[in-house]
Amino acid sequence: MSFVFLIFLPVLAALFVPLLFKNLRQIHTGWFVLLVPVILFIYYATLLPTTAEGGQLVSSFQWIPSLDIAIVSYIDGLSLLFSLLITGIGALVVLYSIFYLDKSREQLHNFYVYLMMFMTAMLGVVQSDHLISLYLFWELTSISSFLLIGYWYTRDRSRFGALKSMMITVFGGLMMLGGFVLLSIMGNTYSIRELIAQAPDLASHSFFTWALILVLLGAFTKSAQFPFYIWLPDAMEAPTPVSAYLHSATMVKAGLYLVARFTPIFAVSGTWMWLVAGVGLFTMFWGSFFALKQKDLKAILAFSTVSQLGLIMSLLGASAAGFHIEDASHTVFKYAAFAAIFHLINHATFKGSLFMVAGIVDHETGTRDIRKLGGLMSLMPITFTIAMIGSFSMAGLPPFNGFLSKEMFLTAMISLTEFDFFSMDVWGLLFPILAWIGSVFTFIYSFFFVFHTFAGKHKPDLLPKKAHEAPIGMLVSPAFLALLVLVIFFIPNQVGDWLIKPAVVAIQPFLYVAPADVDIHVSAWHGVNPEFWMTLGIFLIGGLLFWTLRKWQRAYDRFPDNLTLNRLYDNFMYLSEGGANRFSALYMTGFIRSYLVYMFGFLVVIVLSTLFLTNAFVIRTDNLTPIGFYELVVLLALVAGTITILIAKSRLIAIIALGAVGYSVALFFVIFRAPDLALTQLVIETISVALFLLAFYHLPKNSKTVERLGFKLGNAVIALGVGVTMTLVALSAHSQKVLPSISEFYKETVYSEAGGGNIVNVILVDYRGFDTLFEIAVLGIAGIAIITMIKLRLSRKVGQHENK
């Protein structure tokens, strides 16, 4: 089956969303939309047996064959895992949104169209084997994320957050495109699989490091790594279902996917390993440290997401170590890739449920400010249970899935101390230390999130609404995710066989041939080893610090506000906007005469210099025809008309004189036997005279006293220059025939190829049909522009009022 088309199923379904929303108002549109991810999830689930045995599936269709651009859907363990996450979490989020977004008040058609657009984009990113289509889908995720963050577009913060996320992720996307172009030049192919096959040769290419850094910029901006993470907290202005879906479970993981997918190509490089592991780990520490500074539930979760993404990123970086160790599949270095994928799944389950919990708290109490919340435990027992499961898993406590992957993370970080390439033997010790500190803070903010919301004293007078338990439909999705958190803890090896190992094979194809080769068995108890002591330390120190949180949390307020990365972004935006404005103001005077001066000035300079630099200026007098009587008469009429326009005192006379000029040109066409042109010119002249009359009707009356304009040298030079230039160009064009005239070709083919008789018209509709298509498009745009300027402007009274 050509499953490549399934990528487009959501976006096709989106076409029906507005219709369903308009015509079936009484049913929440989400119920229809829910079908799409459910169907896709079921279909992708049927592919699991294939990938679990190490199989791959490819389906493609040609898009622009002449440029070798195709959309290729390549399903292996890694892309199938992501596809299942996208559709699975997507289904849960749509279900949740049905209860979160009110059908009578919200603009559901916008919401679900954007959401479906995103789903297609995301599926495209993870399944594309073609670099260019991968890039296109990648940018489409940025755009749909922009639209979803700005969903409540009347709010200032929403628009700000939307723009910020777009600026940063699209910047990264463009960098990534650069990297892709370099890769395709190096490998002479757009196919990722073919690039991976050539990986050893690519490494010696001089573009290699550049491609590496550019691709990483794309991944880091998308996955909110330090210092690009600043867009993610501001993206929390999106409706909570969006935050749960895009900004924790799927879109921000596109960067991780990219790193995982390109690991086989870049992992040989020390730069790659240092950058991915180092930036990831630092992000993990930074995010967890600043999560405690936040007051908003969703902001805490945003920083926590940044931190967790960093954790997975560092594991992917560490997995590169496997390329440098002999027989790495039997050593301690084998764990990193497995742990990365494992934690990626776990994070989607627990963070998804936590975001939904934050949404429920917001929905039922009216606030997300953690200082106003507290004591909700008895009022919202089910929500509390879900939140506790999610948070404990995030903190790395047993018996939840986070515990297992956190242990493996520590194992992988400790293993780096034994790695002796790339000066790791000197700096390697930093990795477990940073990982440990980050984990301690993760533990604290997890507890902070759940206990400061649900435990403590209830403050009903601070809440905008009277708190109560959420409706059952809203609880289904987070409860299901929480259940997964528990279930995965008990069957980690089944999850490993079906989902993780096939994905690991895709990341480390040089180590393993089939998923069965991945020799990792997950168990909750490893005996007393360094990881065990580190975990114990995290629990003890973390517990102690959480106990005393109130005493030291204020220290966060001491951090200077004007030295943050956010401030840097704001200043950059402010300066670039202001700078661009000031630069434009230098030449945009608002007077058409200035613009005409620029245009004609450039025209003269460019055309004249080209004419003389290329020695194109030739005048020949041997191929001229004598000037006839009629031509002379028409010419005199033309000149007389032109002069009349300039000296006419009344506008009416000027318009009529302009008409005369046009008609004289039409007469020239008649004399030179161009009936099509003559006809068109005549009609156009007629209509434009009518138009001028209409437009001049609106102009103020000519004043009685005629002001004489002084002589302006600049204008005179430009006027003369344009005249001279056009004359020279016309003479030179007539004097030399560099290329044979195309009219012979037209004459020969107009009947046989195009089935017509009138060359002019056939040129318009057939030979140069593209030109005509675009011209009428421009005409249409001009018409719309005139309507906008005249019909839709503010009425004058309102304008005056505003000016006061």
Binding site: P675, D676, L679, T680, V683, I684, T686, I687, A690, L691, L694, A695, H698, A754, G755, G756, G757, N758, V760, N761, V762, L764, V765, D766, G769, F770, T772, L773, I776, A777, L779, G780, A782, G783, I784, I786, I787, I790, K791
Partner: protein, 140 residues
């Protein structure tokens, strides 16, 4: 001051139809003899403008109750659809098709997909010209 435009109005009533018929002729003849959608459209527009000059915008709007913006949009869609339809026949974008048919009354006639494209051009030209003249004319 009331202007005497009886002559203009009387003449317009006849001339408009002549121009319109000519426009239709020019449109269909365009592929073999001078003419085509662009000129045809302009001629049609000029006929309507003449009506507007002789009578007034409100009257003309009652006689010809077209939404010209809609007309522009339909024309653009038609042109694009004609150009795009070719990809469904597995030939490059904008490949035209034509053949000769024997039609009753007309005899041997060539039917050309370029005519559809030209019809799009015609509609856009009429639509845009009239949109511009109408909006500027109605503006107070």
């Amino acid at each position: 001051m009331r202007t005497n435009d009886v002559m203009l109005q009387t003449a317009t009533k006849v001339v408009t139809f002549i121009i319109l018929m000519f426009a239709v002729h020019i449109f269909f003849a365009g592929h073999y003899t001078p003419g085509g959608g662009f000129v045809g459209g302009l001629l049609t527009a000029s006929a309507i403008v003449l009506l507007m000059l002789a009578f007034d915008i409100e009257t003309v709007k009652k006689i010809i109750p077209f939404n010209y913006v809609m007309m522009t949009a339909i024309g653009l869609l038609l042109a694009l659809a004609t150009a795009g339809a070719s990809i469904f026949f597995n030939v490059p974008f904008f490949t035209h098709a034509y053949d000769y048919f024997h039609l009753p009354l007309f005899g041997k006639t060539s039917l050309h997909s370029a005519a559809l494209f030209d019809l799009g051009v015609y509609l856009v030209v009429v639509g845009v010209t009239m949109t511009i003249i109408q909006t500027i004319g109605e503006d107070e």
